[in-house]
């Protein structure tokens, strides 16, 4: 363990994993409790056109991904009460058109998209010092906003209709929450990629629900599980030479299932 930490890219990778665990722990709880898994998948895949646009225009892909994922979040949140289309239909359309746009942009760009694969499946080993700084800033923003609006987000997730009745600006809060999910996704894409993002948003929070009876506790335990999953996955991928993002996801999924089976065997409630 000490030996692998002597490389700077490994230090960065572990730091990125811990940062990701913190925001996944917090935001993932909302994704799971408010059942935003499909929406999060839609935002993640739509943001792929941000990556493509970055390549095409020469802008830093992380920055263009931030813009595009926030656009997707606002569109989905804004359409919720207005569009005649069903929400899951809207998301499905965004999901696929975003990916398609991304592919066209990349095809148009002169530069050969050498790390395209890392955006799809993540490459935590390629996290640079600058990436870490961007991730830290995004994480800071996310944590501060959640801390400020904790009681409103709790009301929104638990009972949206009653929140409306109480006069809370439900739609604005909902869009804000989706934007936080979008920012989280931007951070996570570095680590597990567009396609596997959903795993880190759901598995730590779902595991932690088994051990917690309040939203706050659920967040804290979820952060711990996230940290265990990413660090363990990273270590295993280093020694076995597996793809890091995929290994992290598999480790998360496996530990979750083991805990689930053990609980059922021992009938722990």
């Amino acid at each position: 363990m000490i030996e692998i930490l002597q490389y700077e890219f490994m230090q960065n990778a572990f730091a990125a994993g811990i940062l990701a665990s913190v925001i996944c722990g917090v935001i993932g709880v909302y994704v799971v409790l408010k059942r935003l898994v499909f929406i999060s998948g839609g935002i993640a895949h739509f943001s792929f056109c941000g990556i493509g646009f970055g390549y095409y225009s020469g802008i830093n892909p992380t920055l263009s991904t931030i813009v595009f994922s926030l656009l997707a979040a606002s569109a989905i949140g804004g359409a919720k009460h207005k569009a005649k289309l069903q929400e899951d239909t809207t998301i499905g359309i965004l999901w696929a058109t975003g990916m398609a746009l991304g592919i066209i942009f990349i095809g148009l760009s002169s530069e050969y998209a050498i790390d395209l694969f890392s955006y799809l499946f993540g490459n935590i080993l390629a996290v640079s010092h600058q990436d870490l700084i961007i991730m830290a800033i995004l994480s800071g923003i996310i944590i501060i906003i959640v801390a400020l609006f904790y009681k409103e987000f709790l009301a929104l997730s638990f009972d949206e209709e009653y929140s409306t009745v109480m006069g809370l600006p439900v739609q604005a809060l909902y869009i804000l929450l989706l934007c936080l999910i979008a920012l989280t996704i931007v951070v996570l894409i570095k680590i597990v990629g567009v396609i596997l993002v959903i795993a880190l948003l759901t598995i730590p929070a779902t595991t932690s629900r088994l051990f917690s009876h309040s939203v706050k506790k659920m967040m804290i335990i979820s952060i711990l599980f996230g940290a265990i999953y990413t660090s363990l996955g990273l270590t295993i991928s280093y020694y076995l030479g597996f793809a890091s993002g995929a290994t992290i996801v598999l480790v998360s999924g496996s530990i979750f299932f083991i805990i689930l089976v053990l609980r059922n065997i021992f009938h722990i409630k």
């Binding site: 409790l33 059942r35 400020l148 609006f149 009681k151 409103e152 709790l154 009301a155 997730s157 638990f158 009972d159 209709e161 009653y162 929140s163 409306t164 009745v165 109480m166 006069g167 809370l168 629900r209 917690s212 009876h213 309040s214 939203v215 506790k217 659920m218």
Partner: protein, 254 residues
């Protein structure tokens, strides 16, 4: 339709439709201060829509709704609302205490934390509905009737002038039902209560006035509902037996 001063709720020629089918047709209804109005009607007759229109969750495409003389969106803070289904995720990790305290969220304002005074108010309100001992329990671990009381507490914590209850007696057994209605009776001393129910006999026993709704409203500002009204509303003859009650819902059948 004349609107007098003590009308806490006033609907004038309200029409509501959804996807081009009419749900509420020309509804006019005046509810007076400290009334206890029961709303009955067949499934799909528009009972829930009527309640949601009163609270401003549904906008009528024609007609006017006034709550305490104002638009529902402005006077909403005076309404306590208990929705029909506890659409809350029963697996949601939240304690009874937190659910009731959530009722304060709207008027608390952004960036403010709940104070110890708020917490005290939560405990007092839980006492009113007799649920103090469940304060720390997860809401999903309570029975349907207990949950209902918690949601009433959440509605009561703001000390509303009007309490709107949409089918609150679903999932409550007979024993709890009488307890439940005596709680409402107690609350009715201080506030106007409107209660939607499918249970005609329960309504007939406990409320002061009855309205029957099926697209159109049948209401005579009293507990009397004409047999033909009920039959028109339900679309078939209804036998209504009010159990051992000194007052009746239907007028004498000739």
């Amino acid at each position: 339709m004349d609107t007098s001063h003590d009308d806490v709720i006033s609907l004038e020629h309200v029409w509501v439709s959804y996807n081009e089918s009419i749900i509420l047709k020309d509804i006019s209804l005046q509810v007076k201060n400290k009334d206890f109005l029961g709303i009955i009607g067949p499934n799909g007759g528009g009972k829930t829509t009527l309640i949601k229109t009163m609270i401003g969750l549904i906008k009528p495409h024609n007609g006017r709704v006034k709550i305490l003389g104002q638009d529902p969106n402005r006077s909403r803070k005076h309404i306590g609302y208990v929705a029909q289904k506890n659409y809350h995720e029963s697996n949601f990790p939240i304690s009874v205490f937190e659910v009731v305290r959530m009722g304060l969220c709207g008027k608390k304002g952004f960036l403010k934390r709940y104070s110890s005074k708020d917490d005290e108010l939560v405990l007092q309100t839980l006492k009113v509905v007799g649920m103090t001992k469940h304060s720390d329990k997860e809401i999903g671990h309570l029975s349907g009737g207990e949950q209902q009381r918690i949601f009433i507490a959440r509605a009561l914590i703001n000390n509303p002038k009007i309490l709107l209850l949409d089918e609150p007696d679903v999932g409550i057994d007979a024993n709890m039902q009488s307890e439940f209605y005596s709680l409402l009776k107690k609350l009715n001393k201080n506030m106007t209560i409107i209660l939607v129910s499918h249970d005609l006999s329960a309504i007939s026993k406990h409320v002061k006035k009855v309205a029957c709704i099926n697209q159109e409203i049948y209401y005579h500002d009293s507990k009397e509902i004409k047999r033909e009204d009920i039959e028109k509303a339900y679309g078939c003859p209804i036998d209504l037996i009010a159990h051992g009650v000194p007052h009746r819902v239907l007028e004498e059948h000739e």
